[in-house]
Symmetry: D2
Subunit: 375 residues, 4 copies
């Protein structure tokens, strides 16, 4: 007896180029290189060549470049993951799309709605798959809540809440160098998407924001914001609260709650594991400390979904179907970005602000109720 | 051998008259008649004599009257519990105080700050004990959270949340007869007090409100409100959210959360008991259905505290000391009422509103930080 | 206007005499004196007169005696609560019954089955109400679990667990003076009753015990037991585990679990309240520390149920109906005691032991399945 | 600009051959083929060639054979994963070891201690890494509990519990074909290892078992067992309970609890995710349904650990260090198997049985306390 040779029956893996090998990019690289079925990390582009090379060596990635254009020009690359500074997101997305690459872009899709329009145009013309890193949707508990919502557990949403608290120590490293509107463009944008996703068919209409530098009060006069609460009014009457802090001493805290005419669903994992310890002081349990721990599976699953979408688009196969709307695309990127921009306006005026441009004009995506908000 | 007679060593029970024997009044009556050590329910006043008499008979209360003035005139009565319609609260409180009776008044203390000033004057002149029915403070979990906060678990409060969801069926009985501002004067006022209590030393500065008739949309044009979210800015920079709905199909839901520079405390009991059931559909557990179930002990404990305070005042004994600020009095009633009034203004204008009169003028109770709010 | 006099419509309170004013007796006395509707604590009997008098003074109880016979002889006494040392339980119960008093007896009902037979005879002849202090049944979570079981949530019980861990410090005060079989007669007897109650219609058939002095190993040679695990086989095939320790550093831990052909119910409250605290170390919450805290309501409710039963018996009214079997009586006392005695035998032999005498002979209470145990 | 080529800096992946492509083997195959960094699934051996070929095709595994000897003879294979019927485990392990392959063997390591001795001899002589599939150790909550135990949270273990309930429907498919002692050799053996792991340094001394066919009573006379409770006495005095059922309607339920002189740790995940749903019936949440769902990460992590150990052994690198004892080897396999064998004896006699051969003779692994068990 000896081996019977076997022809593979699975599709070719998607060959991915990574743009930006910083903290988040390196995390994605590790996922792509080892735990994402259907993807191969083929090349890394980062102007900081030295760390990029050592990451590539560690992961067995055979080639590195300082210039993302090399990836765009490489016919062996199917898709790119964009994880660089947010000010380059839109231009890189558009260029990648124009080169025919499928795009996974970390949030936000752009820093302004105008920039995002350019991405939309390039993607539409190229017909590529474009996906944004709203990873929270892929967290098992958030997805379970969304499925229950789809099954009618909430009825019509009336009151929603989403919060993000980043782990901290009571002071924010390099706070003075954090861009002023990071709170809205990079942190609360996750909450905005989570709220939109949990309130399907409704459009955000207006926002009102409280924001301050409570962790780093010395930076208040410089306009720095580390703590914020935004209230959002939706076209279906629903009211939402998005809340964030840059410094929770107990770790990384992300939760969501949707209440409506039939009931409530909640997501958010208060402890790192189900383990519990009881001692003289009572009950204790460890809390999640890092986003890449709490959402380890979610980060992996969003990339696996991206790879599946890219492969399907490449091979002319049907796109993955998750039973509920899941894969976040350009319309989701726009809706959340429009809310972030309105929040910035509300901070500047101290007044409620209308959400403009949440639906791309002429796209026909506007929901019927969008015009008819209550008060 | 036979009995040794024993002289009692405990103080005379406080003799209480109840004003208003409706749903809440009858509940208090049952507590006073049976499970409050140190109190005796001596008489009931209610214009609806028939139900009052049958309640009195059931509880062994020997006398009933249609007119609260009879209680005020009765020298055998030490104290009154006011549980009638809110428009009479202030006048009854003031009259009781002028008659030298200690007063437990259901919330709100008055419907306007002007009315409340009259109560303050009467109470100050008479030197009686005056207490308001902010029962949430007495709930075991809220009190435990408050003690942890006092022990430093939160540090400086930065983000607070309080919510109330009344049990419902998806429609509100007699909604058309519910007074327009009930949401703020009777429901959210509990949340306002809870937030103030969890943010000691800070004053509410401004509010912004989203409010609507989402449960009973046909009453929207009549100005009815059954769903609301209020954001509150405090003098110490803290941001708070108070949220309420008149109709939660899963029961009575009350929660509080205070996050700050050192950590977070949470209160709120998601299930009726610790029992859990597992079946083919998964895990299930019953939820609390009624305020008088969820807060059964809290309602009893606030009256026991009242009786202890009244007895101490009557007997010249020291007031009970709970280790943390607990017994809610006139300053607390004023602070919460001022927030409710500001919320009403915010609804009317659609804009943020300043909280005026949260501290009685000249009372010297204003905290140092009250003037210096961030933005 | 002036008072309308009201005739009381409620039954005369039950006049209770307390026998034994030690730690548990004093706790019951405080309940009876203040928070049990329908009961009046009329007299206290305890050979230690001084503390009994000061307790009586504190609670307003007008008379005290060293001799319980004074209570039995007093026609004004309707009922007694027996809370003295367990070696006197049976004789006091029998004497009280013969004097026509309704009896609430702390567990165990007797220390041997023979003694319990005497109580049974006296109670049967006198026709009084006799109830045992299996308070766990009245805990809200245990009762909720029992109701779910009655509603079919478990199906046929197959695997049961009950545990008791007393709060401790790692060493047991006065351990050398604790009677040898206290573990079974006073502690695990609660678990035996809880298991029987959760496995209705089945009889305990055999037991096997592991027992040791793990907390106080120096007392092992003296036969002291502070840690034990008993497995019990029931007539319906169900297998149960009862487990206890005299020293849990994290407080008082009581839990129950019943698993069967349809699902599982669980009872047991892991934390003192629903409050949660999050800090640099993670999540923490206080644990219950004392039986009279964890079961405060249960202790009160069992006495209220006793008072209601005694009043009903006295007044010829129907007994309270709780919807599920609740009030524990002589058959329950016997079943649990028979298990404790079998456990003692198992410890002595190191082998499984049959449970003898769990059903009073000729009482016709044996369930159909009792004879047909599996193996 | 163009690509910079990068030399890989990571070790060659471990080339794994899978023996047995049934349900569990196929699951391991999928892990090895896609999500285990450092491993490559190089070949599959299974006498049922057709499903093995189609699995290989799906996963891109290039070769298949009916005969495991082909794997042993293949110099390109570093290691094997044994997932066939348990009666072949020992012989396959020994043959693989003799061929110089590192071995991951599903539990049990053998069906008798004698068989296991042969494996021990072969492994010792070949110097290969041998690991057993006690995956529970790798579950995040179990590992967290074990770390807390190592840090002193429990003190000296006194009372332990481990349980396994397999998901079911109330009847067991093909029950008549399930081997008689499956309960102990395949199910409770997980619990035995979990208990041993949580009671480090102690040896199991004796067991007593209750066992029955409660789910399939018609098979009782054939000796089938679907429900069992085993009590275990350890050399350090600790008492443990292991409990299992083959049919839980609410899904897959695995829990562990270790109580001792300083406190308690618990593991076990009651719900599938942290999501919670509230509706008219109260709170609900989905429960885990399958072992490969509940322990998805644990199954992956045990294989990743195996690959890391095998690579280290192959490359002369230091073995992975997990901070606490984790990777289960031959001594662990023996200890758990000895308990399973003693349980079978206890079922046969109805009496307690001594645990013989839990430590390999002459191995010097016996702990000091092993000889001195209490009673």
């Amino acid at each position: 007896m000896s081996y019977l040779p076997v022809d593979p029956a699975r599709p070719e893996p998607v060959r991915v180029g990574l743009i930006g090998a910083g903290w988040m990019g390196a995390f994605h690289a590790r996922s792509l290189a080892s735990t994402i079925p259907g993807a191969v990390l083929a090349a890394i582009a980062d102007p900081a060549l030295e760390p990029a090379v050592s990451l590539a060596a560690e992961l067995g990635v055979p080639q590195v470049t300082a210039d993302p254009a090399d990836l765009f020009a490489d016919p062996a690359i199917d898709a790119v993951v964009i994880a660089g500074p947010i000010r380059f997101h839109a231009a890189l997305s558009a260029a990648a799309a124009r080169a025919g690459k499928h795009v996974f872009c970390e949030k936000p899709g752009a820093t302004t709605l105008e920039e995002l329009s350019e991405v939309e145009a390039a993607v539409a013309e190229a017909g590529v798959h474009w996906q944004i890193g709203f990873n929270r949707r892929y967290a098992a508990d958030f997805l379970a809540a969304r499925r229950d919502l789809a099954a009618g557990a909430v009825g019509t949403p009336q009151l929603l809440r989403s919060l993000t608290r980043d782990p901290g120590t009571g002071s924010i490293p390099h706070a003075a160098r954090v861009p002023q509107w990071t709170m809205f463009l990079e942190t609360l944008i996750h909450d905005f998407d989570a709220l939109n996703w949990m309130n399907p068919g409704a459009e955000p209409v207006s926002v009102h924001v409280l924001a301050d530098a409570l962790v780093e009060p010395d930076l208040r006069d410089a306009g720095f914001i580390d703590t914020a609460v935004a209230t959002i009014r939706y076209s279906n009457g629903a009211m939402a609260v998005a809340e964030a802090s840059f410094s929770a001493l107990y770790g990384y805290d992300v939760r969501g709650e949707t209440f409506g005419s039939r009931g409530m669903v909640q997501a958010g994992r208060p402890t790192e594991t189900a383990a519990r310890t009881y001692g003289p002081e009572g009950l204790s349990a460890r809390t999640p400390r890092l986003n890449i721990e709490l959402f380890a599976d979610a980060y992996r699953d969003e990339l696996a979904d991206f790879a599946a979408h890219a492969a399907a688009r490449r091979d002319g196969a049907p796109a993955p179907d998750h039973g509920v709307p899941l894969t976040p695309g350009l319309a989701d990127a726009r809706r959340a970005l429009a809310m972030a921009r309105a929040c910035i306006e509300s901070v500047q005026t101290g007044l409620p602000a209308s959400v403009a441009g949440s639906v791309v004009s002429g796209a026909g995506e506007a929901h019927d109720g969008a015009a008819a908000v209550a008060r």
